[in-house]
């Protein structure tokens, strides 16, 4: 029932259009990630869903009910802020109970919900602490507990992990994901970090300059990016997107470089590139050994690309070698950056 439907949403600030005709659905109990570079309008969309920002045009519906103009408190949403928004003068217990006290929930009910939420996020020992005496991860847990006690069906999160160090981030990411599934929350999660999107999302909404670039499950975005932007935004290191006219000669490359207009671009993921006997001759510029894999940064004439080799590659900067990839791993983008699927019979 409490799925979210967003239709033709627009946010206009004077002459500047921060959100431009955005539509997507969040099915009940699923987690949708709004992904995109900083300033693309993710927070603005989230705040319009929450009711913290006026909608310029379009509609937001939760559970089939149009709530575009409804008061924020009546929408049935809770929100976790990037800064956690904990009240600095209240201890953990009072912070968690704040919403229940505003809504005049009965004392006994408050206590059971507090105990439940605290147990879910492991805060039982810290209820009397002040926020200033908590670590980043613990503050994050308080913010989560506040969301849990509110028992709102829809939960919005705005870059909740960006203030944590890398290790804690991975830990909290799993915890949020676990809670979302356990409590069957309908969640919209904002991030600029593609790893978070890839690992948590049921569906990713990729945004650029206030517009939707692509919508789909993480695997679909990764395997069939609709635009060159989507191709480069997901994946680490990003996809090689190479202008066709920079391939000086195609002889000997076989199906690696298909026939296409000079202003098109050819995309290959770094992990699909192999060192081989034949193929594109390149010079190695840098070798980044990461343990499980090695990332080679190479150039071939004016063309620069990256290759990800499993394990430890026995090459050094300055080495000359040949790289190849399978025709099936090629993504073609036209002059406007749109995906073009090639007619396979033509390339082979």
């Amino acid at each position: 029932m409490p799925g979210i439907e967003i239709r033709n949403l627009v946010k206009q600030w004077e002459a500047f259009r921060a959100v431009d005709d955005v539509s997507f659905d969040v099915p009940q109990g699923s987690l949708t990630v709004l992904l995109g570079p900083s300033g693309c309008g993710k927070s603005t969309i989230l705040r319009m869903i929450a009711g913290l920002e006026d909608v310029s045009d379009g509609t937001v519906a939760i559970g089939g009910r149009d709530i575009t103009r409804q008061d924020a408190a009546q929408r049935g949403v809770s929100m976790v802020f990037q800064s956690y928004a904990l009240f600095p003068h209240l201890n953990v217990r009072e912070n968690i109970l704040f919403g229940l006290k505003v809504r005049r929930v009965a004392k006994a009910d408050q206590e059971t919900r507090l105990a439940e939420a605290a147990a879910l996020v492991g805060l039982e020992e810290l209820l009397d602490r002040m926020p200033a005496k908590l670590s980043g991860g613990q503050r994050q847990r308080v913010a989560l507990a506040r969301t849990i006690v509110s028992s709102q069906p829809v939960c919005l999160m705005d870059e909740p992990l960006s203030n944590l160090d890398a290790k804690l981030r991975a830990e909290m990411r799993d915890e949020i994901h676990r809670l979302q599934r356990k409590l069957k929350l309908t969640m919209v999660y904002v991030t600029h970090d593609q790893t978070e999107a890839m690992s948590m999302a049921d569906e990713v909404v990729l945004l650029k300059d206030g517009r939707i670039e692509q919508i789909g499950p993480p695997a679909a975005l990764y395997e069939t990016p609709e635009t060159a932007f989507a191709a480069r935004f997901l994946g680490m290191p990003p996809m090689n997107v190479m202008p066709m006219d920079k391939f000086s000669e195609r002889t000997g490359l076989g199906g690696m470089v298909p026939d296409a207009p000079a202003n098109w671009r050819l995309g290959v993921r770094p992990e699909k590139i192999h060192i081989s006997e034949q193929g594109l001759p390149v010079v190695v510029d840098a070798v980044d050994y990461m343990g499980a894999e090695t990332v080679l940064r190479v150039h071939s004439g004016p063309l620069e690309l990256m290759a990800r080799i499993d394990g430890r590659a026995l090459v050094e900067p300055g080495d000359e070698l040949r790289l190849s990839w399978a025709p099936a791993d090629i993504h073609m983008f036209d002059d406007r950056g749109k995906r073009r699927d090639l007619d396979r019979s033509e390339t082979n």
Binding site: A73, F81, S150
Partner: protein
């Protein structure tokens, strides 16, 4: 070796402190002690030199009806000015902290009375309060109300001075509240709003407690000011009529420079200092324990 180096460090330290210490002792601590000593001596004259009378001055002070009158006046003056100017300061600060058109103009306007010297303020208000020709009486005249000698009536003179002082002080305190409000993250309001907290609830449970350190600071200043600010009395009332607007510090001035009883003035000064010290300490210790500092 180390002993002499340690010694040199201390000598250097004291040398650096000495100029400031001399000034402080000469102009702050010595006068305080001298005042205390003076208060134990009788008023001297050409034929009768001043002599030690112990607590004699304090006895006559306790029997002095004017002393009690100015003390009570001062209490009403403090009670009348402080809560209202603090409430006004918070309201004005919250108003000009919002995004609204003409906000910087409004901030300036609220702050203007603070820049004016107290004497200038008193002159402006002298015009407001003048019977029949003053602003207040002229406006009252439009509504057919009779004129009133605001500063000449013992019943209205103290309230009139209280109103003027609020006008002068609220803008000053507003600046501190504005600075404090700007350090409160806007997400707190949004988080409360999502939970359905009304503006009043948010103010009572979040904003006001977070402003408490500022309130303590403002409160101490306001209390000190209510005893220190008497400039306006020179222009407006000279403490009259019949001491109805006389305040402790002005009475000290009168004793010393109108009645030339410096020893009695010293006695009153000691009482004033003791009062101020007790109140500052009380506020600090009582309130401090209930304040959350970030």
């Amino acid at each position: 070796m180390t002993v002499s180096r340690d010694l040199m460090r201390h000598v250097h330290g004291w040398l650096l402190l000495t100029p400031a210490a001399i000034l402080l002792i000469a102009f702050t601590h010595y006068p305080m002690v001298a005042t205390l000593i003076d208060s134990f001596y009788s008023k001297g004259s050409a034929i009768r030199p001043s002599r030690f009378v112990g607590l004699g001055n304090y006895d006559s002070m306790m029997a002095d009806p004017i002393f009690w009158k100015v003390l009570v006046n001062n209490m009403w003056f403090a009670l009348g000015t402080i809560p209202v100017s603090i409430a006004l300061a918070i309201s004005m600060a919250m108003l000009v902290n919002q995004t609204l058109p003409g906000r910087s103009f409004l901030r300036m306007a609220y702050f203007t009375p603070t820049i004016l010297p107290m004497i200038a303020v008193a002159n402006i208000w002298l015009f407001f309060y003048s019977p029949y020709i003053g602003l207040i009486d002229q406006i009252a005249g439009w509504f057919g109300l009779p004129g009133h000698n605001w500063l000449g009536d013992p019943d209205t003179v103290l309230p009139a001075i209280i109103v003027m002082t609020i006008w002068k002080e609220a803008g000053f305190f507003m600046i501190f509240y504005l600075a404090a409000l700007q350090h409160i993250p806007p997400e707190l309001r949004e988080a409360a709003r999502l939970e359905g907290a009304t503006r009043w609830y948010f103010f009572r449970r979040v904003l006001f407690p977070l402003l408490m350190p500022t309130t303590l600071f403002v409160l101490i200043n306001a209390v000190l000011n209510s005893f220190k600010l008497v400039d306006h009395l020179f222009v407006l009332t000279k403490g009259g009529p019949d001491n109805a607007s006389n305040l402790l510090l002005y009475y000290i001035f009168e004793s010393a420079f109108s009645y030339f009883d410096t020893n009695y003035a010293a006695t009153l000064t000691v009482v004033l200092l003791a009062l101020l010290a007790v109140m500052a300490l009380a506020q600090f210790f009582v309130l401090d324990r209930r304040i959350h500092y970030r």
